[in-house]
Symmetry: C2
Subunit: 473 residues, 2 copies
């Protein structure tokens, strides 16, 4: 079943390299169905490997069904088989490459007891548990249709109205027709990418950026380019240069409490960025998932732009519940209409009425604002305490964020974040090494820490040991 893993035991990385090279040609359509593969001898020479390595690789690809041997005439791409979209190598849990999926899968699939300073959400005890329990009990008394029906294509009107009020507080005046609910924040971004992108289109992200933007864009077969992020937003000079040379179709960013850095976009950078975007007809997705953690509201691209070329997305996963899944999109009304169709086609409707009912109940209840107020104070203390403890290990925050639960930190000289993350995982601690956030792979010496997941003393022992780990190749 797990061919790659079996092979690693037998063949080694050269075979994998050859397989990867052929897969890339088929995925990129340089080789089409029925096309003949390079001869074993010529590929061996071109890749500097032995002919037997190529034979092994071809045999394995044939076993997978991607290619076929014809007796006496070489190997061919299978006639009807388009290559499946493999986003990562299939490997056993511990051995998976430290790629944009690594942190997600390790964090999501870890036992509750596993310390996860690398994860991207708050522990249950930091969430509004009492309000969620009340909402769940109320759900048991709600209208039958809430419990049984699909719900409307744009999502529950009561929650959309609550959201419009909250958008107005951010300076974004939107009409009901400009807002739709989605299955999650990630699904919101995904729908927009499906609407705007074609395979091969270029998309701009920040360096560093939220790793799942990279995973998502890989799934869209986009070409990903990145712009360095500064403490006040993307480097605008580089941004303009990239727009001129790479002509990206889309820019995806967080404005308030940027992930992973915790930086805040300045008003001046926002204005300059939008001016340049207009000149190059660039569409922007502003993911505002961390906005509620700010002590006071910072500039939003969507507010300056008036939802013209900026699409605002968000969700309630970080502040309210990641289990009760629901995201939203605010954008031009004609785009929303098309995005609603796309959501019907790909999810048959909007988010679960059960989910929107629970979220609306919690948001409308009096306790939510108080919970957020306490949470912000608690996080301010935690950021300070954890920064001090990290400092004792020679680890320094790149900046001290105004809010949120992330510290984007530079490790001590010579420490390798990827090696440390691998070593920590051996001891059941999930870390988030810098390069999973970096398209340009410039963050080997960085790590993102979640201050709400760092109270376990044993975790600190593991971290100390892990930071001594050296790369294994």
């Amino acid at each position: 079943m797990d061919i790659e893993a079996q092979m690693k035991g037998r063949g080694g990385t050269r075979t994998i390299d050859v397989m990867g090279a052929i897969r890339a040609k088929v995925t990129g359509r340089a080789l089409g169905p029925g096309d003949r593969l390079p001869s074993i001898r010529s590929l061996a020479a071109a890749m500097g490997v032995s002919p037997s390595t190529v034979v092994e690789a071809y045999d394995r690809l044939a076993a997978e069904g991607l290619i076929r041997a014809r007796r006496g005439s070489g190997f061919y791409v299978s006639p009807t088989v388009a290559p499946p979209l493999a986003l990562s190598e299939v490997e056993p849990r511990r051995d998976r490459a430290v790629d944009p999926f690594w942190v997600s899968r390790q964090s999501l699939d870890a036992d509750d007891a596993v310390p996860k300073p690398g994860c991207g959400w708050l522990p249950p005890v930091w969430m509004p548990e009492a309000a969620l329990r009340r909402a769940a009990r109320a759900l048991g008394r709600s209208e039958a249709s809430v419990l049984t029906n699909y719900g409307s294509t744009r999502g529950a009107p009561v929650l959309r109205r609550l959201l419009l009020t909250r958008l107005a507080e951010d300076g974004i005046e939107a009409a009901m027709g400009q807002l739709m609910l989605t299955g999650s924040g990630t699904q919101a971004t995904d729908l927009i990418c499906r609407f705007l992108l074609r395979p091969g289109d270029t998309v701009l992200v920040d360096d560093p950026c939220y790793f799942n933007f990279r995973a998502l864009l890989r799934a869209h077969q986009a070409k990903i380019v990145s712009v360095p992020y500064t403490p006040s937003g993307p480097d605008v000079a580089r941004f303009e240069q990239i727009l001129g040379s790479e002509r990206p179709r889309l820019y995806i960013t967080n404005s308030a409490l940027h992930n992973p850095t915790g930086a805040t976009l300045s008003l001046q950078t926002a204005h300059r960025l939008l001016t340049v975007a207009a000149a190059h007809d660039l569409t922007v997705i502003e993911d505002d998932i961390f906005g509620d953690f700010e002590p006071e509201r910072s500039p939003r691209l969507a507010a300056l732009d008036g939802l013209n070329r900026v699409i605002r997305i968000g969700s309630f996963s970080k502040t309210l519940s990641a289990s009760v899944r629901c995201g939203y999109i605010a954008a031009r009304a004609d785009w929303i209409e098309h995005l609603v169709d796309l959501q019907v086609a790909t999810s048959f409707g909007g988010p679960s009425p059960v989910a929107t009912e629970i979220i609306a109940k919690v948001l409308a209840g009096g306790s939510y604002r108080k919970h957020m107020e306490e949470l912000r104070q608690k996080l301010t203390r935690a950021r300070r305490d954890i920064a001090r403890k990290l400092g004792a290990l020679g680890i320094e925050p790149w900046l001290m964020p105004r809010g949120g639960f992330f510290l984007w930190c530079r490790l001590a000289d010579g420490q390798d974040a990827t090696a440390a993350a691998r070593a920590a995982l051996e001891e059941d601690v999930v870390l988030a090494p810098g390069n999973v956030f970096s398209v340009a792979q410039t963050a080997l010496n960085f790590m993102r820490f979640n201050v709400a997941h760092m109270s376990d003393p044993g975790m600190w022992d593991v971290l100390r040991r892990a930071l001594k780990a050296q790369p294994n190749r």
Copy 2:
């Protein structure tokens, strides 16, 4: 905002045709960014329209941003703008084309009070409401992590184990590694399409088939071909012919209680179909969403095939709740591993733990099997009663299904199902006209009726009037 609709009032269908032709060229990449469009004179001649029609169309496309005028040198495809993926024309609710989205959007967005004989699910009173209320109340007492956390990437183990038992009852022996939970049944199909398809790939569906397969495949920019469905499954001779000539990558079907016909796949057809599929290396998605409505189990492709080239998907939307959304995929373990990555990239994880907790509670409770037993008996009576009432209007079921809530019916001679559906909607009744199910558009004289939504006497009056409607062009 609504350019198409405004234009219809002003320009007429020829302008729309020209716009459509240009859009198709850009979408199909026959015209790339920066390419010059045909001259006004030449396109007018080629399409047999007046030059002013082409000017109007080009002006409108320029207003949309798809193309740009350069002074004195003609029109060009906009340099950075790939065309957004518009799955349907944006039109006001009542005027939308009767396309594969029509029934979904009208059904999902209709008020609870609107009679919906065209819709694809049961009314709330037919669902296991009491069990759902109990499960919601129990949710209020569940572990905090169920209420607040993302949950694991493959979905709650307790529900996956329950599902494995149910698959075994269908003769499908699967290991835990061959099963994953998804956000919904539609999302299950969508993930598989993302994994296997590239734009332009050919996909085979039944004629007629579930309309949202068509909508979903449009979103994947697949070429859709169809095989006539007989009372015992697809026409195998045609199936084999199409596999030879069209070389589809994928076949999507329902085996038990096929949607919309209610037909059941015979064992002989299943065996022949799989033999032909193997010869052409075809992958099959078997959507088993209606299986629990069968009086006794019928053959499943996945059972014969052993989850080799057949992927089994399903959900709980039809029997348990469409609000508590959750689907599943059972397939080869190596494919599941890649599909899990894709789900992380595009939805950040599996279905909501809140949803899986409620479903597992209801499934494991003693009342669910009893509920389904009663439901099947109730539906048997309803199918018989509604068939008799329809017969009095000259409407005859194509076959009498063994289970479920659909009757796929031939209207009386000369009746136009699309015109009837439009007329009924004017009186707030949602019907499902045949051609939304038919790729070959051979079902103008057919309609799908949901027997559980036909108790309203006023609805029958509307239906009688609507059946007299004639097409408006």
